[in-house]
């Protein structure tokens, strides 16, 4: 209002407050539905003839984890390293056992830091991600932080 009488006038903050309260309520509701997303890095396959970069020492064995609809198999590139198959129990994949087996491989044999993960074409993506988690290990006690995704196995 125009104050012609020279009286003291305050800015009416109430409508502004209404807008602010509505905006804050909206933002609070929206942020409650924001799901925190993360990224799992995956290595692209490399076709280097010598993975040791020209060094003459014996190359490290490469582990491959293959997921099928019935089991998870751990295979190694070297003949002296045995393969392990972990069969599904109660229709559940044995992720914890997989972590233990991979840790055993890492301590007992000379294996590369990276591994290949492949799966049957029908295996759900969530199972592949869970297998990657099991292979990655814990942040303070990592197993195989570098995972290369192989082509799907077709029947």
């Amino acid at each position: 209002m125009a104050g012609g009488g020279g009286g003291e006038q305050d800015l009416n903050l109430v409508p502004y407050m209404d807008i602010m309260v509505n905006l804050i309520m909206f933002m609070l509701v929206v942020t409650a539905y924001i799901i925190e997303l993360r990224q799992a890095p995956v290595l692209a396959p490399s076709y280097s003839s010598n993975p040791n970069g020209g060094q003459t020492e014996k190359p490290k064995a490469f582990l491959t984890v293959a997921v099928t609809s019935k089991s998870i198999a751990v295979l190694a590139s070297g003949d002296e390293i045995p393969a392990t198959e972990l069969v599904k129990q109660d229709n559940k994949y044995p992720y914890e056992e997989l972590s233990q087996v991979l840790r055993q491989y890492k301590t007992e044999y000379t294996v590369a830091e990276n591994m290949v993960l492949t799966a049957d074409g029908s295996v759900p993506y969530s199972v592949v991600v869970a297998t990657m988690d099991a292979a990655r290990g814990e942040p303070n006690n990592p197993l195989f932080p570098g995972v290369t995704l192989g082509l799907a196995v077709k029947k």
């Binding site: 009286g7 003291e8 305050d10 903050l13 109430v14 502004y16 407050m17 602010m20 309260v21 905006l23 804050i24 933002m27 609070l28 929206v30 942020t31 924001i34 799901i35 925190e36 997303l37 993360r38 990224q39 799992a40 890095p41 995956v42 692209a44 396959p45 997921v67 229709n91 559940k92 994949y93 044995p94 992720y95 799966a119 049957d120 074409g121 029908s122 295996v123 759900p124 993506y125 969530s126 199972v127 592949v128 991600v129 869970a130 990657m132 988690d133 099991a134 990655r136 942040p139 995704l149 192989g150 082509l151 799907a152 077709k154």
Partner: protein, 187 residues
């Protein structure tokens, strides 16, 4: 009899004076008795700025629904915006543009099954070409990063084929987008 218009004016004037007197009501010692909204406004403004910042920090606005629900994972890396391939239960999109339609079970709905992934390959190659053109003009360089946002139930065959065609289109680093949390329950 008094004029109703004059009465209304008188009432209005009385109301204004009442409100004004309430707002400006002072005690005898000169202190303002009304509610001081300025401090509350400060709090509200700070809250609003904070919430806007939280909202803006989300690098990718991904609408999650029954059609697209990425698996949960313990992966530690934060999101890095890059070219995205979104694989839902019904379609595959490259940077929010539809390139493939999917049938139930994650099978590509294409007239020629032997060339089913051709639109995806074309879209990825086109995206790389655009980024390289921008790079040539002084823009940010092509880093080869590709973000895969896939539904938890998508078959690995589909994911594998997408990665294969991404590799052919010169993408070298793949990042699987997952929901933060404990790993997907075993099944």
């Amino acid at each position: 009899m008094s004029n109703p218009a004059e009465n209304a004016e008188a009432v209005g004037s009385t109301d204004d004076e009442f409100l004004f007197s309430r707002r400006k009501k002072r005690h005898d010692d000169g202190m303002v008795a009304g509610l001081n909204l300025t401090a509350m406004m400060d709090v509200m403004t700070i809250l609003l700025v904070y919430l806007i910042k939280v909202y803006a920090d989300a690098p990718e606005s991904i609408t999650l629904n029954d059609d697209l629900r990425p698996p949960t994972s313990t992966a530690p890396d934060n999101m890095v915006p890059s070219v995205s391939v979104l694989i839902s239960k019904t379609s595959v999109l490259v940077d929010q543009k539809l390139v493939l339609k999917l049938k139930p079970g994650g099978v590509v709905d294409a007239a020629d099954p032997s060339n089913a992934y051709a639109p995806l390959a074309k879209a990825l190659a086109s995206r790389v070409e655009t980024i390289k053109y921008i790079e040539a003009g002084g823009g940010s360089p092509f880093d080869g990063n590709l973000m895969i946002i896939a539904d938890a139930d998508a078959p690995y065959d589909l994911i594998s084929n997408v990665l294969y065609h991404a590799g052919k289109a010169q993408f070298t680093t793949y990042r699987l987008v997952v929901q933060k949390g404990a790993s997907t329950p075993a099944r």
